[in-house]
Symmetry: C2
Subunit: 238 residues, 2 copies
């Protein structure tokens, strides 16, 4: 029978909630390093990231024991260990499909490179966009997807198309070998097992804020309209 996977240490099975926080710690450690700080305690890092320090220590314990009791963590060492765990000690090639307003913004985002990603191609189905040059890259026909993914060994794709196109783009991405998708289109994508999709949705974030905002306006009793409110009635079509 196969050996048990290690329950801890630089091994497997980090909880999803922890995985989602590791990039936050990584960013904070980089900021500390840039300020010339060589060592920090779990309290320091917790304060910088807005996380409970016990939770932070538990999170780090899934990676291994990289701290020193009574002293704290070596900033650079811990930063490297987290980067290694996430898998961003080298750059991942990424493509962006859909070079409208949002695609432009994503292509020009300078933070990718220093955080483990490199935009290797921009694609768009509209021929009139193929004349453009965005962030130093040509906008290429969508049909070149398979070639690009194959040649550059791309595993991660970003969808910034309108909602109607998103499922088709995702299908083509999956068929071409992409196994991780970051979706900015407001649609639920269906993909086969083994393909990861994460979704960023503007309206949903705002609606979550609106829910809480509404509650603030009327702290007592239900059904109350929020006070901080202007504007006319409008057909909500979410």
């Amino acid at each position: 029978m196969p050996a048990e996977a290690p329950s801890r240490g630089p091994g497997r099975d980090i909880p999803e909630a922890t995985v989602a926080r590791l990039p936050v710690y990584l960013r904070a450690l980089t900021a500390l390093e840039e300020r010339g700080i060589g060592t920090c305690s779990s309290e320091d890092l917790a304060a910088a990231t807005g996380v409970n320090s016990a939770k932070l220590r538990k999170d780090l314990s899934y990676l291994g024991s990289y701290g020193t009791r009574g002293v704290g963590y070596d900033v650079d060492y811990l930063r490297y260990q987290i980067a290694r765990e996430i898998g961003v000690t080298q750059d991942w090639p990424v493509i962006i499909v859909g070079i409208g307003n949002l695609g432009h913004a994503l292509a020009n985002y300078s933070g990718f490179r220093s955080r483990g990603f490199r935009v290797v191609a921009l694609l768009d189905a509209a021929p009139e966009r193929h004349r453009e040059q965005v962030a130093g890259l040509p906008v290429r026909p969508f049909d070149e997807l398979e070639d690009i993914v194959d040649q550059q060994q791309v595993a991660i794709g970003v969808i910034a198309t309108p909602a109607v196109a998103a499922q088709d783009v995702a299908d083509r991405m999956v068929a071409s070998g992409i196994t991780s998708i970051l979706n900015f289109a407001p649609t639920v994508l269906s993909v086969p097992d083994g393909v990861d999709v994460r979704k960023v949705d503007l309206s949903i974030e705002l609606q979550i804020l609106a829910y809480h905002e509404q509650r603030k306006g009327a702290p007592e009793e239900g059904g109350q309209r929020p006070s901080r409110r202007a504007g006319t009635a409008a057909g909500v079509t979410a």
Copy 2:
């Protein structure tokens, strides 16, 4: 002694995980309505949103009993009830601060209006941007923040500035009366109690995908480099 808050019904205390899914249901119901579908079961809606149907029914049960056993849910009625619960039966006025690439994209995003939001002002600290007109709105000096928030009764602000400016912008927003912030800048904001902040972070989403991608590359044993990988070593500074 005060009466107990209702544990269910059109009242208080919807779990956060449920609140985050309500906008997803709302969008799916709108899509069903546009397709002319009048009634749907929890299975239908679950399939459309990628949520377990038991979870969906439990989520809806926090709002009240809006379904009919043996029949399902009236699409339009349920849609309205969810919109009311979220608080988007009318438009919320929203301002965007920082009109760079991303701010442009957000200002031009057409989905806001139909989902309960109305962009009432664009602000930027750089004087050279004050000549511009974006999405039919003038880009106004950041100093006008207080006046705009006050006059338009703005409760929700969007930060699309560079990271260094974000905390200052947040402080000014809070001082001017804003109590909900959607933050696109890659910084942890500190705000007083009673102010809600939600964060959208590109690099973090990609890093979470990278973590799982790395695991796919090496299904057995730890420490393996992912296979689908190109590019050179680069200093990761997260």
